[in-house]
């Protein structure tokens, strides 16, 4: 049986909304009066679920409610959820920055938490002094830091600036030095919050590599991130939080899927037009949708699957000598046209009288992740534009799965095609 490294038992955290200070004394006295009479804290009963959008009745909300899970030794657990789901509060409690209102947790081993890199860094101190300062804050002894000093400096890659005050550092150097210290902690458990959102591509790769080493060394990692590509490749198990409660816990793939599904409450991938749009005197557009074959309609679209743009067209009659084509223009955030595809190019395709679904298949591994705004054009006889609708639908593509150990940041560019690679040995 694997040993449990962290055991979280019914952790709840209550926060008081509004101005702290107004009425504090009266609430404190009331709490104390209940305690004196041996009664429960009256304010623990009245908290509400933490839903940000709704205006609640109670002054007290539960940022976390009955969180219960276990982490095995050597396991790397991802914690995901929307902003405000309680991820950071949970990490804060586990790293003992703040205490739970009720419930508790038990830990085997030392915890090092990285809620922020470079805690305690002082701009006036040199890199060398800051390494010792930061290391001590994270719980290392002076001896430990001395032993690892060269390794830390080498990892950070700022050897030349080590005796320069940190205020002269670029923000990148600052972060690299800070992460270098954190990465060399000897603790059995590492708690990291979005640390990967910093630094350049090369350094991010280094960080993730280091994080992976950490897990293979048999250390336990709790990892909060919005970078699904990183969570998916790096964490075996994942916990999904929503409004302060655990919605789902289990294997990363399944939990991430659930998270992605829950994100899209109103479906952006299908546009129904009622009444249908008249795109010519004899044709109507009923709906347009983007989807991936084999996935359900409300699932997010990922770049490693083919995408179909489907237009539901109805044409009454096609006069002789006339033909119709569809053109899609893909535009970026700034409205610039990135690429155009049209059925003009495909002579085997034709739009027939009656109602039909015209499908345009974009192969897998073609677009990069991001949002594309699609403009729809209806063309007559391959040369005359008769209808144009800007931003008729948007195509939102998310990252696909990447091989373990590869870089997890966002790749620039709007295309990310998978070309064929080969090599021929030279004799």
């Amino acid at each position: 049986m694997a040993t449990i490294a962290i055991k979280v038992e019914n952790i709840s955290k209550q926060y008081r909304l509004g101005q702290i200070g107004t009425g504090t004394l009266s609430h404190d006295l009331n709490r104390w009066w209940h305690k004196v009479r041996g009664k429960e804290n009256p304010y623990l009963k009245i908290g509400e679920e933490n839903i940000h959008e709704k205006k609640g009745k109670s002054q007290y909300v539960w940022a976390l409610k009955d969180i219960d899970f276990e982490v095995e030794k050597g396991e790397s657990l991802g914690i995901i959820g929307k902003n405000g789901a309680g991820k950071s509060t949970l990490l804060k409690i586990l790293s003992r920055v703040t205490g739970p209102t009720t419930g508790g947790f038990k830990v085997k081993g030392r915890i090092a938490s990285l809620l922020e890199v470079g805690t305690g860094f002082h701009p006036e101190l040199t890199g060398r002094e800051n390494i010792f300062m930061n290391g001590a804050i994270l719980g290392m002894t002076k001896q430990e830091i001395k032993r690892k000093f060269d390794e830390i400096v080498a990892f950070s890659g700022i050897e030349r600036y080590i005796d320069t005050p940190a205020k002269r550092y670029s923000s990148g150097m600052y972060v690299r030095l800070a992460f270098a210290v954190a990465a060399h902690l000897d603790s059995e458990i590492l708690i990291a919050d979005e640390v990967l959102a910093v630094g350049d591509a090369e350094f991010q790769k280094k960080c993730l590599g280091k994080m992976k080493d950490v897990t293979t060394e048999g250390r336990t990692v709790l990892f909060v991130s919005h970078n699904m590509a990183a969570v998916r490749s790096f964490c075996k198990t994942t916990v999904l939080l929503r409004n302060g409660s655990v919605v789902m816990a289990g294997y990363a793939d399944a939990v991430i899927k659930e998270y992605m599904l829950s994100g899209t409450t109103d479906n952006q991938n299908v546009k129904l037009f009622s009444p249908p749009i008249h795109i010519s005197h004899n044709a109507k557009l009923h709906s347009i949708s983007v989807y991936q074959p084999g996935k359900s309609l409300n699932e997010p679209l990922s770049i490693d699957f083919p995408v179909i743009i489907e237009a539901d067209l109805e044409i009454n009659e096609i006069p002789p000598g006339k033909s119709y084509q569809i053109t899609y223009l893909f535009k970026g955030d700034e409205g610039n046209v990135l690429l155009v595809t049209s059925s003009i190019m495909d002579t085997t395709f034709s739009i027939n009288p009656g109602r039909q679904k015209t499908k345009c298949l974009i192969p897998s591994n073609f677009f990069n992740s991001g949002t594309f705004y699609i403009a729809f054009q209806f063309v007559e006889n391959r040369n005359t534009l008769i209808f144009r609708e800007e931003d008729i639908i948007s195509l939102i593509l998310i990252e696909g799965e990447r091989p373990l150990g590869s870089w997890m940041g966002h790749t620039p560019g709007f295309l990310l095609p998978k070309f064929e690679w080969s090599n021929e040995p030279i004799m």
């Binding site: 205490g99 038990k106 006036e124």
Partner: protein, 287 residues
């Protein structure tokens, strides 16, 4: 039985709602390097980018002493016995300032460090303790200033002053410990309370000023007359009086008040640590 053994293996156990009263000395000992790191940081960075740098440590007591000399000596005619006025005020201010720098820094612990406290865990008591140590540096600088004046007065017999070395000088480290302990104890009590009730911090800045006047910093204890006992009830008084006695051997050495101050210090310190440890778990939510 097995289950019970497993329970005991946990290294960290946190339970909400139930704050145990404990002193947590072991944990503090594990973080001793951090205490020194913080003290060093305080000293290294406090007067960075000022032109006069650490000289400010000296200018402040010097100007204050001169002011006292003019106001209390010149205008109010408060006698300072056989001790020359300048030496009298400077000696009192040197030890009093140690209390003042410690206490004000510690009283604001939670407020000034909320950033770092919000990001990482270490025993919060590390911060106040580091202040006690870093304030020693300020004290050292001011002591050197005082000794400089003492030597000057003794060598040139200014105002007929002569210096006699007394064995009581060896008691000064002990006086410092009691002073530091008092500042720590009172400081952490105040800092624990200010997390929720900010009004206190205003009261404190004002209160410390008043406290100086019921401490024999600007007048010798005998001049208090019948209110002597009232002044001695202030635990700082015996330390300042004895600190002066060590240098000037004038009047009696206050043994009993010193014992009183020591006991007072231990009790405040214990109460302070208990309150502080109780509050530290959840202070982030209120600060």
């Amino acid at each position: 039985m097995i289950g019970k053994e497993r329970e005991e293996q946990w290294d960290i156990v946190v339970e909400g709602g139930k704050n145990k009263l404990s002193l947590k000395f072991e944990e503090l000992w594990r973080y001793r390097d951090l205490i020194l790191q913080f003290s060093r940081r305080d000293i290294a960075t406090v007067y960075n980018q000022t032109i006069l740098g650490p000289l400010w440590f000296l200018i402040q007591p010097l100007l204050t002493s001169v002011l006292f000399l003019v106001v209390f000596g010149g205008i109010a005619h408060i006698q300072t016995g056989t001790i020359p006025g300048m030496l009298f005020y400077l000696s009192g201010l040197t030890i009093w300032n140690y209390f003042l720098t410690c206490f004000t820094a510690i009283a604001n612990t939670f407020v000034t460090n909320s950033g770092i406290f919000g990001k990482v865990y270490f025993p919060r008591l590390v911060m106040p303790l580091s202040k006690v140590i870093s304030s020693l540096f300020v004290f050292g600088a001011q002591l050197i200033l005082f000794l400089g004046f003492l030597i000057y007065y003794a060598v040139f017999h200014v105002k007929g002053f002569s210096f006699h070395c007394s064995p009581y000088l060896f008691l000064i480290p002990y006086l410092l410990i009691v002073m530091g302990g008092l500042a720590l104890g009172l400081g952490i009590i105040i800092s624990s309370l200010t997390t929720k009730y900010r009004d206190l911090s205003y009261l404190v800045t004002f209160g410390v000023q008043l406290l100086m006047y019921v401490t024999p910093v600007i007048y010798p204890l005998p001049s208090a007359g019948k209110k002597r006992m009232f002044i001695l009830a202030n635990p700082m008084s015996s330390i300042i009086e004895n600190f002066r006695y060590a240098f000037f051997t004038e009047g009696p050495f206050h043994w009993l008040p010193l014992v009183y101050s020591s006991i007072f210090m231990i009790i405040t310190l214990l109460i302070g640590i208990l309150i502080f440890n109780k509050i530290e778990q959840n202070f982030m939510d209120t600060v």
